[in-house]
């Protein structure tokens, strides 16, 4: 046995999500989160840069998987084919997490500060995807546009996915959204 209970970070994440779901983000202090996890406020800030970050761990499957998916995607002449490949990989990270995703999304939607952090994480996905495409030889502004389009498809499909109480096939929703986008831009 160690000197402290294990997995302090995970305990803080759990305590925070539970308290936020109960009372709302603003009605919970960092000291309360830490107390519920058996720690102090100061220790909370050794694990997370700020109060919001506890809901957006860099270790999340989405963040870690995203960058890896870009490198792992097979070479393709068409940027959007690579984007579609990455989206398919990303969809897998959400399987079995539908209930959790719904609760987390509800907490975030209820608070402006959290929506702000969510927006910046999505922007990070755009930048990461664009950088990956550039590394594969895609020029600007095509790389940025393809990345924006890909994340837009992800956002729309994910919103549809969490909107329903029963999980549908996220990969299928993404494929359909991508087809819809192609239809929209192709018709002009």
């Amino acid at each position: 046995m160690g000197r402290w209970e294990p997995n302090a970070r995970g305990r803080l994440e759990e305590a925070a999500l539970a308290l936020f779901a109960e009372r709302g983000f603003e009605q919970v202090t960092v000291a309360e989160i830490a107390g519920r996890a058996g720690l102090t406020e100061r220790t909370f800030y050794r694990h997370f840069a700020d109060k919001r970050e506890v809901l957006f761990p860099d270790s999340s499957p989405l963040v870690t998987g995203f960058a890896a998916a870009i490198e792992a995607a097979p070479p393709a002449a068409e940027p959007m084919a690579t984007v579609a490949e990455v989206l398919g990989t990303v969809a897998e990270f959400f399987t079995g997490r539908h209930a959790y995703s719904r609760q987390r999304t509800a907490v975030i939607a209820a608070n402006a500060e959290l929506r702000e952090r969510e927006a910046v994480k999505l922007a990070w996905l755009v930048d990461t995807l664009a950088a990956g495409l550039r590394r594969r030889g895609v020029a600007e502004p095509a790389a940025s546009l393809a990345a924006e389009a890909g994340v837009a498809v992800f956002k729309v499909a994910h919103a549809q996915w969490v909107a329903e109480p029963e999980p549908r096939d996220l990969g299928e929703l993404m494929r359909r959204a991508l087809i819809e986008l192609k239809s929209l831009t192709g018709a002009g």
Copy 2:
């Protein structure tokens, strides 16, 4: 003469941008901004919800013009044609503001909190544009996807526009970005 100097809000905006450009966002306190404008910290918070908001006024040409442009756009069968129309109107709001836009963009790029606020304002543009398209009979998820695509084009073109010391034609950059996006999605 009034009891107070006029245009307190404008003075606060000017003082803030100047101080942020000099020393960086974090190295400036709200009390300093207010002092430079001849006011107190408390009064600052009567004009702006928080320290960041002084750089993102709701009264900005972009924000006020965007919503109006959607309603003013002529009816069109194709969602992306409406989006293109709105982008054209938006481009006009930036004419003559190139130097100001460059300074403001540099200040924002230098700070994570400000990038966060910027991201949420862009998300607001997406939502506003999508709502406008729905009001014109465009169904989901086409409305959201078209809105995302439109704001993506705006972001990429605006980034190109402020990247160069001499102003180019923002409307032209947007048209080219839109064509590039169509080429990307159409080729898949």
